[in-house]
Symmetry: C2
Subunit: 886 residues, 2 copies
């Protein structure tokens, strides 16, 4: 039988940090800390596979029950207390803990083991009846909520009445007697609501709690979280049963959470918050605004000294910034948890670089520590520096970036209005895991309560969203759907702007400005004045040493090309020529071409377009001096260039000398049932070879002109939507003829390549043949995914989310490249293409080119390069390094 | 060096009948006949590869010229005449001949070798100056037309003037002197039009003619013909240079064409036409209406006797019905050509069966002789037997079938109006190869002149189109765009109806009735009264003995199922349930389901649909008693069931209790950009499991009900548009649950299978996984072709014809399964699926299932069955036999 229970306590543990998949992160680290000799209350962990089997069949077998019983006995032995003992009872916490951190998503129960008898024992043992009854009423409330499904609001109501009848304003002013009476009322409430007595048997309580933790794996918020974070639903959670220590035993007790370095900036200083005379949940839930950790030095000096030593030891041991939970019980420090701390990207950069300087980690580790997708955060805009607006309020800058949006006070409303295309900012007193879907929908989050480690702060940071928390000036009225900040009233639907970097809240939709990294990129700021940029550049430099894949950008204009190059792009992998046709008089010439009645008319219109295209290409060649530029020939169906009714149609008809009905007839004739599979790509250049010819001429004329100006030009001409080698052969002949003609007339040759997109299954299936006519392949994985799955990206919104939700597909194949289907086609095509032509250049230009898992795939199958949007170039560079180091 | 020239004559030949690819069909058979001792004028054949290399580089090398010169010398030796000899000149014909018969598509030149000197020699040698000058003027005209590009009409004009100035009405009345003068005028015309003298040097004439024949391979009509008949453009044509014999040497001479059996009915009788004192082209071109072959017995008795012996010998030798050309020169018979004769399907059936009876061929050969696609002709409708209309005229019944359409007199007009969606009948004095595209566009052809072997007759028969030729009562006026038949005037655009089986021409759009085979199928006629049906059934029976593939039908109604079964279908391979939703009140219930706001509303509407579906299924099970019935779950996107505006929308809104704008909003919300790749197939059943559940229940309830009535039911439930095994798993669970529930309640079990369509590349790529949940695969090759090529069938009309035309794709992949791409996916999927599940049943239900080449592919990759439209079942049965015998 597989072992299911792992004990820790008394300086040694059955588990280690390497057993995260079995024990979950929390359990593995509790074991590790115990082995290290760090003060941890004893306890045991139920392995995650028990959760999986319980959720499958709902059964708990006898052998397993006995394992738990034996562990409990050992816990009684080590703690010197007995479970259910009326004089000195053992109390435990029951907490979830999956192998991947899912903060706040699953259930926790504290003070388990209390009943009408043991509460008296606790009172006697602690010498503090008030504490004992406060613990009991908290336990009843938590257990009833989590295990028995009694709404928490009803308990809050009874508690409120008790304050009123006792003439006090805070819970801590309630006497032991008042609390004892409240316990009685709580028990009545439970009996009334559930039809059963509250279970007095601690064994019954324990198993109820364990099953509740297991079941919490399938709570909506947990499922949502896993979906957003691509965590498999099959992991299950461990259950940690740990003997209780109490931060609420008086003024010499307390509880807190802390980071070994600043999670916002990365600064090397111990950073955290604590509360005196409180239990752990109080800090995390943001119910009371906590004190700064530095204040602990004076309030709980011995514990503080121990904490400082311990945190230092933990960081060195785990070799990464730690996020710890601790409790001080009557002056003695206990660690309840340690885990790798979440951090902003700027902080992650600084921490990684500092730790290399400190000799704690290697350059390679620094590169691997940085998650590629995190880099995105560095590009987030901030409020423009020239905005003179006065902040309405200032809260804690929990997650950086600037964001504007309309205010909503409810996560469901946030989701709905977001779905309707609005930018929303979710404003809450505090957020709870139930708000998760609202945070997902929002551009930013603002809360009135809670600290830098509150739920809202942690979740928003994890998603790279702007968040401001603990903004105490906020008064929210849910009835009036508005909030008041001093004199100012803001209603649902009004615009506000948040600056997550400084914590400032503004009225209205303020202009934002590029981030530090962006300003260096566009030349508005010198790198010397940009410390984050310097860190970024240093890490990128290290990453470049490790990677094998080249990184190019998808860019259609000289401006985009420059942005990309400044981010380290080594060429252009996709220049979409059609984007050049959409501006000003170009669209008119384009439309003339489309409605032309004959070849002559088409040629005349194309002659107008040629100089415009040529100028664009020349600018791009200049921006990419020394690097290859892949130019794709016209791809979209022609009807995309025509207006569909309205004023524009009238004007167009006039300018083309047509009647409205004539134009309407042309537009209708070009209509397609499935434009994605219609007359586009090389099918245009085959039916209208003059289009290909014009584009090829424009490219070569631009190339020769640039070459004359001393620019090192390397055009790579790409034929789209090929399904058969004969299509490519046909287009290649036209392109080569244009090259010979242009270079002959201009008297100067430039080297060039001709290749094709592989974006249809048939192209991949016949890649060996196609390679006879191709100098390079560029996988167009957007279209290849659409055709391989038979899935229109434009229409998939109606069912794809449902698919992900129900786990029918693990991931959106438009985001993460599907290895099993699309990937199989790609790897075969690379193999067959290279078998025909060993020096075939292979790249990708779909959006997957900037997605880390997909970049790893491209590395594995031997691509030469990936190409992605200019802003994803750093992500791709880092992902390529990760892939090479994997 | 590869040999290029093959001689024949004097009883022996360099070639044989097996050398068709080298010599072309005509050359190979001329060689074969020579070897057999059949009287053939001596000559030689230039191999087809010479045509290919000439068309590639335009060059004729010296070594080859010498080969031709040597062959010509040998020909002079054998014939005892010299090329260019002024006293007894050798004259030759120069004729094309490809390995696949392309009748009339390429060029022919007769009487080559004549010039101002040799014509006198011919006059002396023949003792007939009139004949010599008539031959010369024919040669000039033909050569100028074919080689020099002088329009033939100009020669006709001069000839016409000559008749007038000589006061005669026919050419044959022109004297030798008149013809000599005409020759002079022809030469002036050539000089004036081309700027050069007509070449007097026979060598120059010969090479000009050879190159003209080669070039005629690329004439539009020839290219069109190859495209329609799927003949590769790469074959090239042979050139046959044969010493002339003359059917126009007087009343003891003549020329004719004949079939060894009746090509229309297959009757075993020598059947043909001839003309006295004429050259061969006169018969084929239909310029003079020829005499019946039987008349030859009295007119040219010796030659007739020789001809009868020869035709019998040729048929026995070639073991098939022959189509021969012959000339009688002064009483002596010469065979100019023999080839396998084209025939109607009824004739083909009868000939094959008779030849088996005669011991000439085996049963297997009979099966292989019958081309599967030909069977289609047997299903052509005929004019209803109760139509009392009087025929306007009666012509020769050249190709059977009945057809109605509007009259057009020009092939271009035919093409244009056909493209506009009209049914056209092409009416011509006679057709020529230049009319080919018009015949392709027309439903039927009617000509005023020409016999059963004229161009129109041969081409229409080859295409399985109705044709009536030699309808001499017709007077066409091209100026007035009308024709007169007696008193009756029919204008362009008026409707007529042809009965190709009897040769009758009717005014108006007459009702037609099913063919003999169809009437037996639907029970209107007893097989005892249907000889063609009996032949058909006999041959089908033989085919069934040979084939391994099972043949099923795609049928959605009990009626279609019965038609299919009567044609020999062994089950239903595709029953499209959505077709059942389009009728009467069903569509209303369906629409209620679609616009329902919640699950409850959807369920209520589905409950209404269930009994209707159940009744349909029960009827189908009954019709297919003992055979499997594959039922596909709902496939099309829901918006296909909704009206898009108009009166219907108003009524629907009312009946659903919605306002017009509300309904419009629902319709708009369901709109898809690419419906082919949208929310359809199993994606519907996954988002709305209640639809799958209802359909499964209807199927199982119907199955149990039918089973109770003693019907052997074998339902196979098919899940459409699967791209991942988890989709199939999801649907399978629902279906199995419904089965257990229905059969539990009804207390009776029936066996069933659950499988899936493989119609997306990803399904094929992950077939090994999918097979874990599938009892069968059915390849939906329509959609698989669309997605593999990225080609919407609805939109491909804009460029696919251009692709075929330019040879970019050899064939329309929606007609003939693409082996290179789609086929590769299929064969992998079969391999992977069977690796997972050895007993996996595999079939096809796309339209390719009734196309012979595709059926052959299905046989090769090990399918269990093909499924096609009920009317294609015989074609598939025969194709399956061919595949098995290949």
């Amino acid at each position: 039988m597989t072992r299911s229970v792992y004990f820790f306590g008394n300086g040694s543990a059955d588990g280690t940090r390497d057993m995260k998949t079995i024990l979950g992160g929390k359990g593995a680290n509790l074991a590790e800390m115990t082995n290290l000799g760090v003060p941890v209350p004893p306890g045991f962990t139920i392995a995650a596979h028990r959760c999986v089997s319980y959720l499958a069949d709902g059964l708990v077998d006898e052998a397993f029950r006995e394992e738990v019983t034996r562990a409990l006995e050992r816990l009684e032995e080590v703690s010197g207390k007995r479970f259910g003992d009326a004089s000195n009872p053992l109390l435990v916490s029951v907490r979830s803990g999956a192998s991947v951190s899912m903060p706040g998503m699953m259930e926790t129960i504290l003070n388990l083991g209390l009943n009408d008898e043991t509460v008296e024992g606790l009172a006697k043992a602690s010498g503090n009846p008030r504490f004992a009854y406060d613990s009991y009423r908290r336990f009843l409330q938590m257990y009833a909520d989590v295990v028995l499904g009694v709404p928490i609001a009803k308990f809050e109501q009874l508690l409120g009445s008790k304050r009123v009848t006792n003439g006090v304003t805070t819970d801590s002013e309630l006497s032991a007697d008042a609390l004892r009476a409240l316990v009685h009322e709580y028990q009545q409430l439970i009996r009334f609501t559930t039809g059963h007595e509250f279970p007095m048997d601690p064994q019954v309580q324990l198993w109820g709690a364990i099953e509740a933790v297991w079941n919490s794996w399938t709570l909506k918020k947990a499922v949502d979280y896993r979906r957003v974070n691509s965590i498999p639903h099959t992991l299950g959670t461990g259950v940690n049963i740990v003997s209780m220590v109490f931060g609420n035993m008086g003024e010499d007790s307390g509880t807190g959470v802390a980071f070994t370095r600043d999670p916002s900036t990365g600064e090397r200083r111990f950073y955290g918050e604590f509360l005196v005379n409180a239990q752990g949940e109080d800090v995390v839930a943001g119910i009371r605004t906590p004190l700064h950790i530095d204040d602990m030095e004076t309030m709980l000096p011995a514990a503080y000294t121990a904490l400082m030593a311990t945190q230092d030891r933990l960081e060195k041991h785990f070799r990464d910034m730690q996020d710890i939970e601790f409790t001080v019980e009557r002056g003695t420090l206990y660690l309840l948890q340690t885990r790798t701390g979440k951090r902003t990207t700027a902080a992650a950069l600084r921490i990684a670089l500092d730790m290399v300087d400190e000799g704690l980690i290697s350059q390679r580790e620094a590169v691997l520590r940085m998650q590629p997708n995190q880099l995105d955060q560095l590009l987030h805009p901030v409020i423009s520096s020239d905005v003179r607006a006065t902040a309405l309020a200032v809260g804690l800058p929990a997650s950086p970036g600037a964001a504007s949006g309309i205010v909503v006070f409810d996560p469901d409303v946030a989701e709905r209005r977001h779905a309707a295309g609005e930018q929303v900012i979710l404003v809450r007193e505090e957020t709870t895991p139930e708000d998760f879907h609202g945070i997902v929908a929002a551009r930013a989050v603002l809360t009135a309560r809670g600290g830098m480690t509150s739920h809202a702060a942690v979740v928003a940071r994890g998603m790279g969203k702007c968040a401001i928390v603990g903004c105490t000036a906020l008064e929210i009225s849910h009835e009036q759907r508005s909030m008041r900040i001093g004199e100012h009233v803001i209603n649902e639907g009004d615009w506000i702007t948040l600056d997550g970097g400084t914590g400032r809240v503004f009225a209205g939709d303020l202009p934002t400005q590029p981030s530090e990294v962006m300003r260096v990129n566009n030349g508005a700021l010198s790198a010397a004045d940009a410390p984050t940029y310097r860190g970024f550049a240093k890490l990128m430099g290290w990453a470049d040493e490790d990677r094998r894949l080249r990184v190019r950008a998808n860019a259609d204009t000289p401006r985009d090309a420059r942005v990309a190059r400044n981010f380290g792009a080594e060429g252009i992998g996709l220049c979409r020529t059609e984007h050049m046709f959409f501006e000003g008089e170009r669209i008119t010439a384009m439309r003339e071409m489309i409605v032309a009645r004959d070849l002559g008319g088409r040629r005349r219109a194309l002659e107008k377009l040629l100089p415009m295209q040529r100028a664009d290409f020349e600018g791009i060649f200049q921006a990419m001096d020394g690097f290859p530029v892949t130019i794709r020939l016209l791809d979209p169906p022609l009807h995309e260039f025509l207006p569909h009714g309205g004023e524009e149609s009238t004007m167009l008809a006039q300018s083309l000398g047509l009647t409205r009905p004539e134009l309407a007839r042309i537009v209708a004739a070009l209509h397609e049932t499935n434009p994605m599979l219609g007359h586009r790509g090389c099918r245009l250049g085959i039916v209208y070879p003059e289009i290909t010819e014009m584009q090829a001429r424009a490219i070569f004329e631009a190339a020769v002109r640039a070459h004359r100006r001393g620019i090192d030009v390397r055009p790579e001409i790409m034929v789209p939507l090929v399904s058969d080698v004969s299509e490519l052969r046909h287009q290649r002949e036209i392109i080569e003829r244009a090259a010979d003609q242009v270079m002959g007339v201009m008297g100067e040759r430039v080297p060039y390549l001709i290749g094709t997109m592989i974006e249809l299954p048939r192209a991949a299936l016949t890649a060996g043949e196609i390679a006879t006519e191709a100098d390079f392949f560029s996988f167009g994985t957007n279209d290849l995914t659409q055709t391989t799955f038979g899935l229109s990206r434009d229409d998939a919104g109606r069912f794809l989310p449902h698919y992900i939700d129900k786990g029918i597909l693990a991931e959106d194949p438009f985001q993460v490249l599907d290895r099993k289907g699309v990937g199989k086609l790609i790897s075969w095509a690379v193999r067959d293409g290279r078998a025909t032509r060993a020096d075939l250049k292979v790249g990708i230009c779909g959006e997957h080119g900037g997605e880390p898992q997909s970049v790893a795939f491209c590395h594995e199958v031997g691509f030469d390069y990936v190409s992605c949007s200019p802003y994803r170039v750093p992500v791709a560079r880092l992902a390529a390094a990760h892939a090479a180091l994997a």
